[in-house]
């Protein structure tokens, strides 16, 4: 069971070269039943990563390219009048799938973003008064251009909170890039990947994540991190309880990826950055370093006197 996960990670890493940590984090995010936000410049392999994930976990995959003239119906679907049957029939939008790649989500207007984010949170869609559940699992990988780019609508903080993790890929290392240039087209390769984990196995793994043990001392550590984000004055607003639950869930998934059935502080420390960075805005003129560094340096692993 556990080596399956290792094989899946290896397979994706064959396509997304030189980014083993990001690959493992995205798998952890999937196992933790959370949505993933990939923030990077265009052409860094975001879409390739999403494709590879979908193929490896044999997930029903849809892709939506967000644009500024897009409407909620373009994602959720629309009722159409059929002249033959004289009835309205529902045409499902691309959201009805297991893995939705929402490409460049910050190019769409807030209204459209909102429609997607609501579906992400509720895992269901309401159309013409009828509520329709989305498939299980439902996993959104959204990509986002850095907001400094022209023509973008940055996601508000409240909606960023819906994503369990935010990662960025970044430029590849020199030797990896040489390998990349020499090899075949990665996008094509990702589409040709064989499935490693089928749906029942994935669901089993996801259930397993919730059973990974988090001991009292570990929960205490997580809580002290949350409290520190609120009380230290380093950040404009502290982490929400939802962020705390997400942090613990992500740490559990990471522990499972490490073939453990219990969480250790290092798991929390590894997933801390992807889970909390997009939820915290540091106080201007505060300490240097990322939010993660500041938190980790302020909170000892074991409670002191």
């Amino acid at each position: 069971m556990k080596d399956v996960l290792a094989r899946a990670a290896a397979q994706i890493s064959n396509v997304v070269l030189g980014k083993p940590d990001q690959v493992r984090l995205s798998i952890a995010c999937l196992l933790a039943n959370g949505h993933l936000l990939i923030e990077d410049l265009p052409g860094m392999g975001k879409t390739t990563l999403a494709h590879a994930l979908a193929r490896t976990f044999s997930l029903d995959f849809n892709r939506v390219q967000f644009t500024s003239d897009m409407l909620p119906a373009d994602i959720i679907g629309v009722s159409i009048f059929d002249p033959d049957t004289r009835k309205f029939t529902l045409r499902e939008g691309p959201v009805f799938c297991q893995l939705l790649l929402a490409d460049e989500i910050n190019r769409a207007t807030p209204k459209t973003q909102g429609a997607l984010l609501e579906a992400m949170e509720e895992r269901q869609v309401t159309l013409d008064g009828a509520t329709r559940a989305l498939p299980e699992p439902f996993f959104v990988v959204a990509t986002q251009n850095p907001v400094t780019q022209a023509g973008t609508f940055p996601l508000p903080e409240s909606q960023l909170d819906r994503f369990l993790m935010r990662i960025s890929l970044g430029y590849p290392a020199a030797d990896v890039e040489r390998q990349l240039l020499a090899g075949e087209d990665r996008r094509q390769a990702s589409l040709a990947l064989p499935p490693v984990i089928e749906l029942p196995a994935l669901q089993k793994l996801m259930a397993l994540v919730t059973r990974v043990r988090a001991s009292n001392d570990l929960v205490d550590y997580v809580q002290r991190i949350l409290a520190c984000s609120r009380d230290s004055g380093l950040f404009v607003a502290g982490l929400s309880p939802r962020a705390g639950l997400g942090l613990l869930r992500a740490a559990r998934a990471w522990a499972l990826l490490g073939s453990r059935d219990y969480v250790i502080p290092e798991d929390v420390q590894t997933v801390l950055g992807p889970v909390v960075e997009h939820r915290l805005s540091p106080v201007s003129g505060g300490a240097t370093g990322t939010a993660t560094q500041q938190l980790l340096e302020a909170v000892p692993v074991v409670r002191g006197s």
Binding site: R213, S215, N216, D217, L218, R260, D261, Y262, V263, I264, P265, E266, Q269, L296, E297, V299, P300, V301, V302, R303, G304, S305
Partner: protein, 678 residues
């Protein structure tokens, strides 16, 4: 005046209640116009708060101020003095309610409420009122907290809780200040209220005065004896002596051209001869006691004959009275030692003999004639006095609170005609007769008897115990106390006025309330409240300079200002420190578990050895450092890490079992320490 500050609703409730309760005690005895004005103004303010009425304009407010000041002047005749001043204060305070335009005005109202509340102590000083004041204090504080509260939706009950908490926190400090802050004699005295008539003795005895006094149930003073009190019939509380008779009234006499040292002795001064002799004559039974005297607005004090004191606040007079050096305006406590079996056979100076023999040149011819005849028949002064007492006892004399009016020849009329009288009649007749017979005599006024509160075993002496008796100078025996009332109505002396009058078939005097106040329950309740009032007066109101000095010097030795300052500082400081520690203790963190201590011990070890000082490293994080820097220690450390991880994160259920794991981890840590040292 466009914008008017709105007191938040949650605070206004307390403010209104606090204002009403602070003013209420003043209104109870206030003139009717003030009561009416207070009610109108408070209701007006309430209606403004509800939006029914507007704030009055400046003209109307000024007019009301003048009207209320005028009313004060009209009904008190002055605006000075406690009563008039407080009335003016209450009136102005209620007016201020109609002037709450700004937040600042609300603060003024709150501060004034505190002040008005404090002035309640000018009127009442008993324990119940003190509890009342504390409750109102809490309510006003709640209003103050409410005014300062930033949120609109807060519940007003919260303010009261916070205020109560504040007051509880302040209590220990209050107690320290109460015990330790030096009691300084006031720099000035409030002008006393002449209008405020006090029941009690006065410096002369006009007809009917004592019998009027005897109908008052008011408390005169309380006495606490160190041991057993003397029996009822010996409890003669001496207050004043009347030596001067002008044919109608007896009054105190201050002899002219006599050195004051001849008349009074103040402890600490050089004792005059008469006092020296008095002190040397001390013998027989003695009683030590403490008197808690209600304010009288007069300087005289009450004690058993012969009183000795050693406090410079008091003076002993040649006629065995005690005097305070100033008028008694507050509850006044003093300690006395009385020697009750002394012979007072001091030589009688000529001026004193003359004074105690003086009679008007004419009047009461029948009595004078009888006195002279009897004196001749008796042979000795003592026989004469006894015959006088026998006469009262054997002839149909009656003891009554409602004697018939006497004519111009008061003594003749009483002796031969009416024969119905109260103690004052018997005493003045006896004194007159003695003087007419050439025996120096004077009237002593004070109280006789007193009720024992069985709860506290202290004595209660009421105005109804007021009594006058006679002292005569007999050869070889000196001053001798004689009580003609005891001859007529022994019950008065043995059991008290009430029983005496009942025996005489006279019960109307005490009115219809008797049945009610006499019921056993009410009597028990009365004893009970009196007992707590007594304790309150004894320990709180009566805690004055003298008691404080005794307590402090008993605890800390001689009291100097520097030492007192140090004691106060230390006491207040330790109270605050104690509260601070309590707060810390309330906020303390739970103690560390042994495995957490184990982690920190290991951490300390590694930091000291310079292996790893990264705070974010758990056991696994530290392992890399140990491997790199000190491979020798790596083996033991890895085992330690594994145990830690297993116990703390993987199988926390094992922690409960214990089973030597703690010991094992400690051993591993020591191993690591040894390898690191090498």
């Amino acid at each position: 005046m466009a914008r008017v500050y709105q007191v938040p609703a949650h605070a206004f409730r307390w403010l209104a209640l606090g204002v009403v309760l602070a003013v209420l005690p003043h209104l109870v005895s206030a003139p009717l116009w003030l009561q009416a004005a207070a009610v109108v103004l408070v209701v007006w303010r309430l209606l403004i708060q509800r939006g029914r009425l507007r704030m009055p304009g400046i003209l109307l407010r000024t007019a009301m101020l003048f009207a209320l000041s005028g009313a004060t002047l009209w009904s008190y005749g002055t605006v000075l003095g406690p009563a008039a001043g407080v009335a003016l204060l209450v009136a102005a305070f209620c007016l201020k309610l109609l002037e709450m335009f700004r937040l600042r005005d609300a603060y003024v109202v709150v501060v004034l409420s505190y002040f008005v509340l404090a002035t309640v102590f000018l009127l009442y000083r008993n324990a119940l009122v003190t509890i009342y004041v504390l409750v109102v204090l809490c309510i006003i504080t709640a209003a103050l907290i409410g005014i300062n509260h930033p949120e609109a939706g807060v519940r007003s009950r919260t303010h009261l809780r916070v205020a109560g908490g504040l007051m509880l926190q302040a209590t220990p400090l209050m107690l320290v200040l109460f015990v330790l802050v030096p009691r300084i004699e006031p720099l000035w005295n409030l002008p006393s209220d002449k209008r405020e008539a006090r029941t009690g003795m006065s410096d002369s005895m006009s007809p009917g005065e004592i019998s009027r006094l005897a109908q008052s149930d008011e408390l005169a003073f309380r006495v606490e004896f160190d041991g057993e009190p003397p029996p009822m019939r010996e409890r003669y509380w001496r207050g004043l002596t009347y030596s001067w008779f002008n044919g109608r009234r007896w009054s105190q006499a201050t002899p002219q051209n006599i050195n004051s040292g001849e008349l009074v002795y103040r402890p600490g001064d050089r004792p005059p001869d008469w006092y020296e002799r008095l002190r040397n004559d001390r013998q027989g039974e003695q009683y030590r006691y403490r008197v808690l005297l209600e304010p009288t607005q007069q300087p005289w004090m009450y004690a058993l004959t012969v009183p000795f004191v050693d406090d410079r606040r008091h003076m002993v007079a040649r006629d065995f009275r005690l005097l305070a050096t100033s008028e008694i305006r507050d509850l006044y406590t003093y300690r006395v030692t009385s020697w009750t079996e002394m012979t007072l056979d001091q030589p009688l100076p000529a001026w004193e003999r003359r004074l105690n023999l003086s009679l008007p040149s004419e009047g009461n011819p029948q009595a004078r004639a009888m006195a002279e005849r009897w004196r001749e028949e008796a042979g000795t002064d003592t026989n004469f006095a006894n015959r006088m007492l026998m006469h009262f006892r054997n002839q149909p004399f009656y003891y009554t609170l409602e004697p018939p009016l006497l004519g111009d020849q008061r003594v003749d009329d009483f002796l031969f005609n009416t024969r119905r009288g109260f103690c004052e009649h018997y005493a003045q007749t006896m004194a007159f007769m003695l003087r007419a017979a050439g025996i120096p005599a004077r009237i002593v006024a004070g109280y006789q008897g007193g009720e024992v509160n069985t709860l506290g075993s202290h004595l209660l002496i009421r105005q109804s115990d007021a009594h006058v008796w006679v002292e005569a100078w007999l050869d070889q025996r000196g001053w001798v106390q004689m009580d003609p009332t005891a001859a007529v109505a022994p019950e008065r002396i043995e059991m008290g006025l009430r029983e005496a009058l009942e025996q005489q078939g006279e019960t109307d005097a005490f009115g219809a309330l008797d049945g009610f106040t006499n019921s056993a329950l009410m009597q028990q309740l009365g004893l009970f409240t009196d007992y707590y009032e007594f304790l309150w007066q004894k320990w709180v109101v009566g805690y004055e300079q003298e008691q404080q000095g005794q307590l402090l010097s008993g605890l800390f030795g001689e009291i100097t200002p520097v030492r007192l300052a140090i004691i106060m500082g230390v006491a207040a400081g330790s109270v605050l420190m104690l509260m601070f520690l309590l707060m810390l203790w309330g906020n303390r963190k739970p103690p560390l578990h042994w495995w957490q201590q184990e982690y920190w011990s290991m951490r300390k070890l590694l930091v000291r050895a310079g292996v790893d000082d990264n705070i974010q490293h758990g056991p696994r994080g530290m392992l890399a450092g140990v491997r790199a820097q000190s491979p020798a220690a790596a083996g033991a450390f890895e085992q330690w890490c594994q145990m830690y991880e297993t116990l703390v994160y993987a199988r926390p259920d094992l922690l409960a079992e214990g089973g030597g794991r703690r010991k094992r981890m400690r051993q591993l840590r020591r191993q690591v320490a040894r390898s690191l040292r090498r």
